[in-house]
Amino acid sequence: MSVTINTKINGQSVTAVAEASTSLLEFLRDTLEMKGSKLCCNTGECGACTVIYNGKPINSCVTMAADANGAEIVTVEGLADGNNLHPVQQAFIDTGAVQCGYCTPGFIMSVKALLDHTKKPTPADIEDAISGNICRCTGYNKIVDAIHLAADRMAGRA
């Protein structure tokens, strides 16, 4: 059975049809051809598929596409302003917080969600915010550096 989904993704209204069993991640990647959000564990454990759903970070792989109806979703494709990267994206580049890069979009969405609400995150805030994102290249130190740099830049401290 298919469902019609009316949603807003990165500020743009989208209407599309998907099977009821489709996850939001499959809807983004396969129906809408937006490949920025990554498929990895597909069980809600690794965070590679993280998107911001009505202001909150969630795992799109374990969210029904049907729940996008009436919701506002931000994906990694929605962060840059033309050629200008979002401060979180730029900070990941400047600190070298990327190795293979597969987990990076998910981390960036979790960090954006954190910094949307927290101007100066504590180490505990950061640990909590990225606790659901796994990096198998074990680059966590540089990721934490990137978060501090992005927070400082967004608050005008750097």
Binding site: S21, T43, G44, I58, D67, G132, I134
Partner: protein, 289 residues
């Protein structure tokens, strides 16, 4: 797979009545979506998230009423939960990851009836109750009779959990939820132990104690023999030791990829001891003698 988004509890119940055990309820979806991907699709899926009035935390003087669709993150962010029932807050705080907490609901965690469900041992020691809607009316059932096996509850495929009633612990009580897992985040508990102690008026002995064990039996369970052993006595080091050993015998764990049964019993013993010591100190201001 048929798909249905009921606008009321009544609509959801009629769909369940029509499809029986072939239908599955979905709320947050963090468990059900994994089943759909890796096991099998149910014949019918009932997404209850659009039903109004099933979400939120309210105080009614003697306790809290938590709507079944309240997310784990809403519970974690609730000042009321943190202040009045910290044992439930601790479970919400240690639940999976931020992303999962933003989506997963307390009703889903309960309906799933996994022995390791993070909120379940705390709900048992809080003497919480489930409010369940059936086609012939509403029933309020204590959680002590609600869980019947892994994935099995007394409401079966016929009921819809609408609300959780959480009475406030007696004045002076202190509770704790201790979770043992390899990773701090995003890991299922090997063992979870919830302890709630109420001291007597002079803070010299245990007036009431409740111990809930998670992930060590087909359902979350209380440890009634251990509770009976402790009641009416001051908490001494010897009693802590005896209670830990007895609690380990009240668990009936299995061996799986997360832990052997033997190891789980040791952890039940250790966490019961730790939980008793912590709650005794918090409730009486005294170290265990």
């Amino acid at each position: 797979m048929e798909y249905f988004e009921p606008k009321s509890v009544g609509e959801a119940l009629s769909f369940l009545a029509k499809h029986g055990a072939d239908a599955k309820l979905i709320a947050g979806g963090t468990d059900v979506m994994v089943d759909i991907k890796f096991k099998e699709e149910p014949g019918g899926l009932v997404n209850i998230k659009k039903i109004p009035g099933l979400s939120g935390i309210q105080e009614n003087g003697k306790g809290l009423r938590i709507g079944a669709l309240t997310t784990i993150r809403e519970i974690e962010n609730s000042a009321l939960v943190h202040e009045k029932v910290p044992v439930l807050w601790e479970a919400a705080h240690q639940f999976a990851s931020l992303q999962v907490r933003n989506t997963a609901t307390i009703g889903g965690n309960i309906g799933r009836a996994s022995p390791s469900g993070e909120t379940l041992a705390p709900l048992l020691v809080l003497d919480a109750k489930a409010k369940v809607a059936y086609s012939d009316g509403e029933k309020v059932e204590p959680f002590s009779a609600f869980f019947q096996g892994p994935g099995k509850t007394s409401m079966g495929a016929k009921g819809l959990l609408t609300e959780i009633e959480v009475p406030y612990p007696a004045p002076g009580s202190k509770g704790v939820y201790l979770k043992h897992a390899v990773r701090g985040a995003m890991d299922i508990a090997m063992v979870g132990v919830a302890v709630m102690i109420t001291p007597d008026a002079g803070k010299n002995s245990i007036q009431d104690v409740r111990i809930g064990l998670g992930a060590v039996a087909p359902t979350p369970v209380r440890a009634p023999k251990t509770e009976a052993l402790l009641k009416g006595k001051p908490l001494t080091a010897a009693l802590v030791k005896e209670a830990g050993a007895l609690a380990a015998t009240e668990a009936s764990p299995i061996t799986d990829q997360r832990s052997s049964a033997e190891n789980r019993r040791w952890i039940v013993e250790a966490l019961t001891r730790r939980g008793l010591e912590q709650t005794w100190k918090a409730a009486t201001g005294k170290e265990v003698a």
